[in-house]
Symmetry: C3
């Protein structure tokens, strides 16, 4: 018995469903190119077994545990680690049972589809998860995890991943990437340059981080020029471990183009430890433009992930730390925010700036018009709450008419849940093929064009945008 | 002949239509639970006949008369009462004819479907309303209204209403609820605590209202603690007449968490009659948090209706008063607005805060992420302009993927048009079943799950959220 | 062979498709009423051949060239004129080949459908455009353009245009309209009063423009009353050349209702050349209200096109001038912005104010509630990035439930690409019929009503709203 409907996410009308399925069949087995995500490179460096079902599927995945929390289940009982190191739930089977008993909460969500895809396709399970099947699931998955076929590298190969990008801090020693490189394993795992800790004055320990940044790079990061040079040095090191992109989180998408002297003054201010929120924000904005300038030299694609208001609940941050499902999107004004950046580098033909949003209202109103005009600007795929069937549908319907397909860059899974990678790419492929089939059926795209676009959305565009 | 298509609002593709109809058949006869609305409790206390078709369907319903006004028909000619008591149109048959002659204006609107549902199902009419049938309609409805089966209590029972919540001001004497309670009639009509008149410093006669609030409760409402105590007293009285919830209108959704001394100072300021708009807004925000604290003690569910900018046209307000169709929604920023409240009570497992919005852009960007994280927060159903087929569709498509079904609370009719209650619940049930059928047909929900969710959306969730 | 699918844009499910096609067949041959656009009246005055395919389809159409630019093709190579008069690409065949080689960039866009509609229906081409067919296309179109049947007036007649409105500056001498009037040709080409150059203090040479405005009209435009009188004079002249409407571009939609003395002071300030951005914006807002007051006297319909942030890239503006695809929409708050205007004239029964937006989030939240209440306010059709299948679908789905069909005004093509006029109207007719068919199939509209609404959306409403 299958858990999943094999025609899931395809349109219902028979002609369109057949068209969608035909398109999907040409792309479903293409290799996975995963240009942005948060997998832990140590998995592939160490290649040790995943500890148990709860630590594979629940504890590290805020998509999974926040939904349980939203119905009154405590983070402690789900084993979410506390920052004070105090013990909480440590029986993985008990955690797993909580998931199983409450799995109805995920009805209609992409999380349930991702999980069921893993259950069926990765672990070969054939009954739905429920209170009754909780122990069967636990035992089955736990047993599989102990076999060689379920070690990280084996799964990587079985998932048909051509390349997987992880994301590391500018202060990271890249030891796991070094270990992977030295291991002789042929899997392609590359890093991505994420300098938030040294470009965001509001980041924990920013001043210390900048100091450490100088030590790591041997540059004088007490001066603006030395600080910029330290970025260049580290970008080059990241490139040596496969990086083809940098990545920047930014609540507002604000960019700036200050005169050199003003930028220098601002740098000294924010590293002095005494600065206003406005100065911090301006510095973050200036650094996006500086990173774009460096990209002109070293060729890294620049990713901008804008619009998340982090750590909405102070208590969750204090007790459990960051990335616990309490980051809530807000409105973003890209038109004003990106104007300084695009006036500097928007017409650079080799530069690739990829913008991601959590504010879907900007798709048709701001981002598609910008990407459909500026040569350097591309639209990242639907992100976080939106890399789902409805999210992808809204993205395509809102952007295609204004910027077409060729100002977009294929799919990102952006996940820290390893087993969800094939599931998420499968959802994207099905959703895109359904959209294309709808265009064909309504005379907006010719059938032969649809096959070409399906290939490009799955494989061609991502390779080009990330130079992979 | 039927006026309505019996398969209305179901998807067109035969398989999905059959699925939707099958789901609908299991919920269409469930009792109506109406946890929030604006019916007049005197109808059920006095149980007198509704005066005539115009005063049943046109005069009190701003959905109906604003559309006629928008095409140049005067409020006077529609019998909308003037605040100065001057006479306007008083021939109900003439008013009815205006509606009939202009009924084409309502094409494609939920108002036309609600009205036609009443015409067909409540009054047994079988031809569409038009200039030609205006008098036939008038005579038929007027005759029916004079029969015992069309008295308010008889209709309440025929509509299969399990419970109906009205909304009363904190200053209301609850006389009609008392009369209903003493009448021996078994219909369950409960009140809801709506304290706008004593928590909004911009409300007409606010200072006088607070004084009167003290007189009603016997508390000293010149002091902050006495004022809070007066709320506790009145909430208890409302609970005695069945209230399980409070309700709060609020243009901005802003909340606050002031220190006690600051709250006290602010209270003295706003009750002194001299205060800034910012102080008024801050006080409204503080009172939401105070109400939530009281809910922790007395268990009332807290409803927050945010985002309406009231009385857009000064002349309409001056001549005809509030609630005349000139309340226009605006943007709402829930992420910042609710942060103070949710940091105080967001993790209270027994508390239920239900948020309603008129800004659909917040569904996927703000409200679903918040409700899918905070235990105390629930999403109210689409409201006012949005409790329609398209509105419900957009709500489900935008929220389900992030917060699922179980952080929502079923349907509210929120109406002052009594006969529209079964019509509105029917639209909601059909729309939800159509959405669920679409999920089943595209492999996003199993068929057995869909039946459970259909029941929960119709009956289970509302009973739980409102403790009814 | 046909390039286009004859059932394009119709729903796929057979019953709904048949219904949509039946509706469409009753409106597809109705005359085109084009009440707002940017065609060049000299075409019809001079009636000379269009120079070549590139100058017909690429060079003047920012929809076409911005998409090519967004993928790194230079404006110079596309023949976009430079403001400094320096030569750029001048081989029209080379420009045409660039379009042909990159035509895949337009997949899924309305631009490709408009172009293919022209290729097939205007020029009789029967193979898709591609690198291989580029020269065939060029030769075929170029040859046709040299024949009498392809002169502007012949095409006007063949397109079945009942009336075409152009848009002229308040400073325009209307010479082409005079020449058309004197030519004896029966085609109805009317002008529209567009006073941006003399009402926007930030317009290039505003002070000089106001001076010239006085010279043209013989009024004393150094005084507020004289300046207003100059508008009245010019509006009358425009009316003499067929104008039934004025048109106003406005980034914010802000309106104002200043006391006369304050308006006079503000006028003297902004014409003095020294004023703040706030004063400029306030003056623009005041002038909308003044124009509405003049409409009460002379009957011109008032069009408000709000929300475009012009000239996002300084370099493009400096090198190529305005209207080059770098105008990017932003958020608009209509509720506050229109309140002063609507409080003054919103209940005028004869006045018609038509509002257009580039911020789709305002459809259901702001514009439909306003238009569904105020007698003077109407919603313009989807505009610019949104006069497409998906754009029209979103517009109807978001507005109809609240303001119905009869507070909307039919379609505007708003184009400067002459051959796209029939294509754009055809897209609108098909999209509207598909929407109506969906309503019928889901029991929200009766079949006989749908035929009436289809006629009204295509022909009846636009004639009434623009008094054409």
């Amino acid at each position: 018995m299958a858990i999943l409907n094999s025609d899931r996410l395809f349109p219902v009308e028979p002609y369109v469903r057949d068209m969608a399925r035909s398109l999907y069949e040409t792309v479903c087995d293409l290799p996975i190119v995963s240009p942005h995500g948060h997998c832990d490179p140590s998995w592939f460096a160490k290649n040790e077994r995943f500890p148990n079902p709860a630590e594979l599927f629940v504890v590290p995945d805020h998509y999974a545990f926040r939904m349980l929390v939203s119905q009154g289940i405590s983070m402690d009982s789900l084993g979410v680690p506390r920052t004070d190191g105090k013990t909480n739930a440590n029986d993985p089977r008990a955690i797993w049972r909580i998931l199983a008993e409450n799995f109805h909460l995920f009805r209609g969500t992409p999380t349930s589809m991702w999980l069921e895809h893993s259950f069926q396709h990765v672990f070969g399970l054939d009954v739905p998860l429920s209170a009754e099947t909780a122990d069967h699931y636990y035992d089955h998955i736990d047993q599989k995890l102990g076999t060689p076929d379920f070690l990280p590298r084996a799964l990587f190969e079985r998932f048909n991943i051509e390349v997987l990008a992880t994301t590391e801090s500018a202060l990271d020693d890249l030891q796991w990437h070094k270990q992977i490189a030295n291991s002789g394993w042929q899997g392609r795992v590359v890093t991505t340059y994420r300098p938030d800790a040294v470009v965001d004055p509001d980041f924990e320990n920013f001043a210390t981080n900048v100091k450490q940044f100088g030590e790591i790079t041997g540059e004088d990061t007490t001066s603006w020029q030395g600080y910029l040079q330290a970025h260049r040095v580290r970008r080059a090191e990241f490139k040596a471990f496969g990086a083809t992109a940098s990545d920047h989180g930014h609540a507002t998408a604000r960019t700036a183009d200050l005169a050199t002297a003003d930028a220098e003054t601002l740098f000294l201010k924010v590293t002095s430890g005494t600065f206003t929120p406005e100065e911090a924000d301006l510095f973050r904005g200036q650094m996006i433009t500086e990173m774009a300038r460096m990209s002109l030299d070293d060729g890294l694609t620049l990713q901008l992930h804008a619009g998340s208001r982090r750590n909405h609940h102070r208590g969750v941050l204090a007790t459990y730390g960051r990335d616990k499902g309490f980051d809530i999107p807000g409105r973003t004004d890209f038109v004003s925010a990106l104007q300084p950046l695009l006036n500097v580098v928007g017409f650079e033909p080799e530069l690739k700036i990829i913008v991601f949003t959590l504010d879907e209202t900007t798709y048709a109103r701001e981002l598609a018009p910008l990407a459909g005009a500026y040569p350097a600007l591309y639209l990242g795929p639907p992100w976080w709450f939106f890399d789902s069937y409805e999210g992808i549908k809204r993205f395509r319907e809102a952007t295609t008419e204004t910027c077409g397909f060729y100002n977009t860059v294929g799919f990102n899974d952006d996940t820290r849940a390893f087993c969800s990678i094939p599931a998420r790419h499968d959802v994207a492929r099905r959703s895109d093929c359904s959209y294309l089939a709808q265009l064909v059926a309504t005379g907006r795209l010719r059938e032969n064009e649809a096959y070409q676009v399906a290939y490009d959305l799955t494989y061609g565009l991502v390779k080009k945008a990330y130079q992979l």
